[in-house]
């Protein structure tokens, strides 16, 4: 093995339950360099890092193929603890800090310095008395070494600005003796611009001490700014290892996204629809949704009647929040106007009553009653909102079993749901068929607008195509306006008329499905084309 590299992960292959998530991936990092690891969501970055850290999830699912070398020596890392012993540290995206503890306590977490005493001599080091003096000195030293003179080592972490918390995490890793390699997992995702700038400086500072850094990020500009070299992954495959100096933003973007887009859906009807800019089905005005992790922050966009409109973008940028806000699951601000009527989203079910139906991305949590029959699942919303499938006996309304049964059979036929019959329990269906049940329920509402979120998540390719085809069919035959939210660009580009790329809770750009891969890559990374 070439021993110019501090870390070499060679030919790493990993399967989860027969689903191959990494194929012959190579990752090589030199000592003292900042090496960026880039790729879309699902490209395999986290799996690769899980392997590096010997996370239990890897070994519980049958381990991996390939070999890891540290300083040219083959090593096996079978637990996070072993990774620590090898001098590999991680700055987590979700802070591994305890808010109620002081900075020193957090920095020394699990590695407290103890003074031995008579009791601990007899009963073991668990009874060591803590040496807080020495520990605060160490913490001070490691905070100083990353230039954080103004973080007090005795202050509580709770209530600190996010950036400070990140610095405390870094100080903790630096404090570990013999640290050789630090992994930063999307460290700038939660930071403000100036904090992020400061962080990049600190990364440089650490790298100059000879500690190698693996920098996982979506933000290509940051890669250009700070990294020395990079590895690009796509769909679990190794694409390229490049020196940053010999590449460009556009080149990176293309490598990250680049794959052939084919129209998944045969579309002979495309030209026959008439879309008018003044017939607006759905309009968002300064629309914000307070959904943790997927915040929407003041979005303005118009969806034309009869259109298939896509929302794409990276995870955490807010595209998922759009749907959850309209459904009324999270607090919203701003206006949502449907066919000229402003919706009062503080009332639960408001959108449903106005002819907007949903298929949620959280199929098993929000979308379906898993323990109930297909029939009950399909007719449930219509029963609640539109009073369908009910018959009156005096003052009491009861379920019209016959009507519901007929309708369900019709839907099963229409969407080709593979099941034993209307009474089969939804939880026992396959993912694709569950998704079809969700779709069937939405269709039962006879919506004017159908919003689907991640419609193909967790279902196999054959079923994917069917679901997408059905969506197009619904749009073409019934004239339903469809809003589709998806992480898979290929999917969006295969059937949408226009695609809005969401970045930091706002619409970054509205693009056409046949725009270039480079354009998409840059938009996803939040880079304006002018930058090129």
């Amino acid at each position: 093995m070439d021993d110019q590299y501090l870390l070499s992960m060679s030919n790493i292959t990993k399967e989860y339950y027969g689903n191959r998530v990494l194929k012959n991936v190579n990752l090589n990092v030199k000592p003292g360099e900042i090496h960026a690891l880039v790729g879309e969501n699902g490209a395999g970055k986290s799996t690769l890092m899980n392997i590096l850290f010997g996370m239990p999830v890897i070994f519980n699912t049958g381990g991996f193929e390939g070999q890891i070398y540290l300083d040219g020596e083959p090593v096996t890392i079978e637990s996070p603890h072993a990774a620590m012993d090898h001098g590999i540290g991680m700055v987590h995206q979700e802070f591994m800090l305890i808010p109620e503890f002081s900075v020193t306590e957090n920095i020394k977490l699990g590695r407290e310095i103890g003074e031995s005493n008579a009791l601990s001599k007899i009963f073991g080091r668990l009874l060591d008395k803590m040496d807080w003096n020495q520990m605060s000195k160490d913490s001070r030293k490691s905070l100083d070494s990353i230039g954080m003179m103004n973080i007090e080592e005795y202050a509580k972490v709770a209530g600190m600005p996010i950036g400070y918390k990140q610095f405390v995490e870094i100080a903790r890793e630096i404090d570990k003796t013999g640290i050789k390699l630090l992994v930063f997992d999307e460290p700038t995702a939660v930071l403000t611009e100036s904090e992020a700038g400061r962080l990049l400086e600190i990364m440089r500072l650490i790298a100059d001490k000879g500690i190698a850094i693996i920098f996982i990020t979506h933000r290509l500009t940051e890669v250009m700014a700070v990294a020395d070299s990079m590895t690009i992954l796509r769909d679990g495959e190794f694409v390229a290892r490049k020196e940053v100096g010999e590449t460009s933003l556009a080149n990176m973007a293309e490598l990250m996204i680049g794959r052939k887009v084919e129209r998944l859906v045969e579309d002979e009807l495309l030209g026959q629809r008439e879309l008018f800019d003044d017939r607006i089905a759905l309009e968002f005005k300064d629309y914000s949704v307070d959904m943790p992790g997927e915040r929407v922050r003041g979005m303005n966009v118009k969806v034309r009647a009869g259109e298939i409109f896509g929302f794409g973008g990276l995870a955490g940028q807010g595209k998922i929040g759009i749907l959850n806000g309209i459904m009324g699951l999270y607090d919203t601000e701003g206006e949502v106007i449907s066919f000229g009527k402003t919706l009062d989203l503080s009332k639960l079910g408001e959108a449903l009553r106005n002819g907007i139906a949903f298929v949620s991305e959280d199929r098993r949590g929000v979308g379906l009653l898993l323990g109930e029959s297909i029939e009950r699942n399909i007719t449930f919303s219509a029963m609640q909102i539109n009073n369908e499938f009910l018959k009156s006996i005096g003052p009491v309304k009861i379920l019209d079993k016959k009507a519901a049964d007929e309708h369900t059979k019709e839907m099963i036929k229409l969407l080709d749901i593979r099941c034993t019959g209307p009474s089969q329990v939804v939880g026992s269906l396959s993912g694709g068929n569950q998704q079809k049940v969700c779709l069937a329920r939405a269709l039962t509402m006879v919506p004017k607008i159908l919003i689907v979120s991640e419609p193909t998540r967790g279902i196999d390719i054959g079923a994917k195509k069917l679901v997408l085809e059905h969506l197009t069919k619904i749009n073409r035959e019934l004239g339903t306006t469809i809003v589709m939210i998806s992480s898979e660009l290929v999917e969006l580009r295969s059937l949408c008329d226009r695609i809005a790329i969401v970045s930091e809770g706002k619409v970054f750009d509205i693009m056409r499905p046949d725009d270039s891969d480079v354009a998409y890559g840059l938009a996803m990374a939040g880079v304006r084309e002018e930058v090129r």
Binding site: V190, T192, S194
Partner: protein, 499 residues
Amino acid sequence: MKQKSNVLNKVGSFVFDNKVMIGFAIICLVAIVLSGSPMTFIVDGVMTRITRNTFTVLALIIPVIAGLGLNFGIVIGAVAAQIAVFWVVYWGFEGFGGILLTVLIATPLAVWFGYLVGKLFNRMKGAEMIAGLILGYFADGLYQLLFLVVIGGIIPVNNPKLIISGGVGVKNTIDLTGNLKYAIDSVRMVDIVTVLFYAVLAITVIKAILHLVKKYQLKRNDLTLFGVSALAFGISYIPVVERFLSTDRLVLLDAFTGVLIVLAIIQIAKIIKSIIDKQPAAGIKKPVLLLVLYGVLYGLTFIPAIEEVMLFVKLPVLPFLLIAGLAWFNQKILSTRLGQNMRTVGQSMSVANASGINSDQTRVLAMIISTMLACWGQIIFLQNIGTFSTYGAHTQIAQFAIAALLVGGASVQKATNKQAIIGVILFHTLFIVAPQAGKELFNNAQIGEYFRVFVSYGVIALSLAMHAWKVFKKEVRPPTEGSDLISSKPPEISEVVNT
């Protein structure tokens, strides 16, 4: 103006933080006034109950800190104690020796039970409290099986005083008079001093040997400790002191004075130290204020009404020393690596695991310690009460101990020694005065009885509901600081960048 509002704010937040405790204190005061009982009676009763119950309440603190919540499983520790008490009584052991034997038998049992409970709790994380509650009932069932069927039925036991007349099963109550009753309470002070001296002597000798073989560095503290204990031991031979120490009870007034003197000495030592270290006067301010406070407190004992109470009430010495020792232990264990691990695990198990702390092991240790302490607490309780209600003594201890802790202002996630002791005082004051208050108010003592049961369960229910509400809120909405990750730009950041 600003300062005034500051003070008001401080008072306000103090009241808010201690609302449960303050509310309960008010209820207690009203009940005391209504009952019209003499203070001598009330204080005497409360002191007795402190002796009996505080140890068990203190046993609850470690599980709370380790994130296991309120340990309803202490019933199991009590069961271990009772099994041991039965056999010790059956074998006919008496006095302090009998107690030592009881502890010797009960402790391994309690440790083993605690280990099993801890293992079980690790399999049902997040549901420890309900698991502990049900486990208590389960243990009660096994206990009944043991005492009603196995003893006499399978293990031949022949003692008409203890066994139901058919020869199978243990009687409803076991009289401890003449064997274990007051076996701890009645240890003379002079004996305590002697034993403590020899213990310290032994420890110092061991340390000195370790020092000689270079495994341990003798410190100044070690020698000071030995000096103090030797001094105390020497003084105990002065006839006046010896006479004073040869009783097992201490008049409350003497105890109070003694504690004040010790506290005063500590504060004076602090003052001297800060003068030697040439610390600024701010270091002296607090000790001086405290000294003045102690003086005022001592002055209060000269008020006839208070003096009467203080002269009337007599305290058993050893149980109070044990309680103080346990409070000290709780404090000390938290300053060890184990304690720090417990605090970390209690705050976040995932962070603890990621930092290489074995959270499962830590939780099991917490349960072992708690169960063992509860077991010892039950031994203290039984020897003080003097009659051992075979099938009833353990059934309610978890509820009452937990209620007392909560009354002191503790919660599912936070508990301190201070809260435990204040809780015991308030809770048991109400226990003592409520029936009398009910009788005075409604001419029916039973109503007071209902009231105190209602209060104890009410406090638990309220606390659990508040906890559940807090957890629910946390799940639905992450902490507010997360809500503006990107939009907010704290002013400090610009400074950071400039440095």
